[in-house]
């Protein structure tokens, strides 16, 4: 169970607006998070991962307090170990596909399985600059899965994929997510895009 009750002031072009989220996500659920541009979808994911601190509130994950403003508790991202798929992919320009996965895990069998899942086996020695947008996006997803996260946060993870590749990837992802018992939050500007994957939905006003 993930229990979130946070407040964070967001700077906008015209003044500030308050991001308020009070929501519980069941363990193992896959939730799509949608809402208007600038509503704070990406910020919410970054708050959960520990990259941004909210002003007030608390975050509890499977009975462990990750953040509590009143008690001044705030686990570092390294302690939270969320799988995170960034909207800009955040791939490391100095590393090949294989090195990305080896940086995240030493489990060679798991790396082989991920490469097969993402159909990136022929590109193991390629650096991100030599990959297509879709391949880069798949690598970002594989890297996040490499640490076998209990919580996977994905920010527009399928936007650069063609429909056929997206469907194949989502089907493979479903199996792995079920196997790892991972809770997934997927941010999307287009709720239809993740309809095949998500079982729950949450709108940020």
């Amino acid at each position: 169970m993930i229990s979130i009750d946070i407040e964070k002031r967001l700077r906008a072009y015209k003044g500030e607006h308050l991001l308020q989220v009070k929501k519980e996500f069941a363990a193992g659920s896959i939730t799509k998070i949608y809402g208007a541009s600038g509503a704070g979808k990406t910020t919410l994911l970054k708050i959960i991962a520990g990259f941004i601190q909210p002003e007030n509130g608390s975050i509890m994950v499977n009975g462990v307090t990750w953040f509590n403003a009143a008690n001044k508790i705030g686990l570092q991202p390294q302690q939270r170990l969320c799988g995170f798929v960034f909207q800009d992919y955040a791939l490391f320009p100095n590393m090949t596909v294989l090195e990305h996965l080896q940086y995240a895990t030493t489990d060679a069998a798991w790396i082989d399985r991920l490469l097969k899942l993402g159909k990136l086996e022929p590109f193991v020695s390629h650096k991100p600059v030599y990959l297509s947008g879709g391949q880069q996006q798949r690598l970002a997803i594989l890297r996040a899965l490499a640490i076998k996260p209990k919580l996977l946060l994905m920010d527009e993870p399928f936007s650069a994929l063609d429909p056929e590749t997206k469907t194949e990837l989502i089907n493979a992802l479903k199996l792995i997510i079920a196997e790892l018992k991972t809770t997934v939050l997927v941010v999307t500007h287009n709720p239809q895009e993740v309809a095949e994957l998500a079982t729950e939905e949450f709108k940020i006003a």
Partner: protein
């Protein structure tokens, strides 16, 4: 031509560059993360040698480290270290004088990296140190090389500040730039020309090497 000033200059440049690399990397990383008034003041102080006449910096270093009073007296009495008119003093002055050439480019390069690169590494459980060594540093390699070469080349050409704190002691503080000045003073244009030519050649080769290395990054070493 006595080669000692050239060797002394190369030794000074190598030690200064190595020390600044060790000091400059963490300082540049720290400065690149967020802003505070203290950081602005510190950055301004690091940048001062770019705009301050070298003789002014040399004068204050001379005052500060004079063994007659203040820090200089304390260093002399406590550790038996004397910076004025010694090679150690040249190193100290060079580190301060060349600091902006090492710290500036590295700080700018670190600031230009997307913050999501560090965040991605942290989300994989990697510490700040691992992230710095494995992700940040390799991705600022061209700027790092530029900073190293600029620091080395700039130290080769120091004159005012080293003259003020080191004087002109043959074999100890008489570096190539001072040897050129000394030779001209004595109307020995031949020696002055030889020292100048060697300094010019070394610096030119270094700058060309950086341009060639950075060719594919389309970056100028002056960026």
């Amino acid at each position: 031509m006595d080669p000692t000033p050239i060797w002394l200059t190369l030794k000074l440049a190598a030690i200064t560059t190595a020390l600044l690399l060790v000091i400059g990397l963490p300082v540049a990383w720290w400065l690149s993360r967020g802003r505070s008034f203290f950081k602005i003041v510190l950055e301004a102080m690091i940048t001062m040698p770019l705009v301050l006449p070298p003789s002014v910096l040399g004068f204050y270093l001379l005052l500060a480290f004079s063994p007659q009073h203040g820090i200089g007296l304390w260093l002399q009495q406590t550790f038996d270290i004397q910076f004025v008119f010694s090679f150690k003093g040249l190193v100290l002055a060079s580190v301060i004088y060349s600091a902006p050439f090492m710290i500036g480019p590295i700080k700018s390069a670190l600031q230009q990296l997307p913050v999501s690169l560090s965040q991605a590494s942290h989300s994989l459980g990697k510490s700040r140190w691992q992230t710095f060594i494995k992700i940040l540093l390799p991705n600022i390699r061209p700027s790092l090389l530029s900073a190293i070469v600029l620091t080395f080349a700039h130290t080769l050409g120091e004159f005012g500040v080293v003259l003020m704190i080191g004087g002109n002691i043959p074999g100890v503080t008489r570096v190539a730039s001072i040897a050129v000045y000394d030779a001209v003073e004595q109307m020995d244009y031949h020696s002055a020309n030889l020292y100048s030519l060697v300094l010019f050649a070394i610096t030119f080769v270094l700058v060309i090497a950086v341009f060639v290395f950075n060719k594919y990054q389309l970056k100028s070493p002056l960026e």
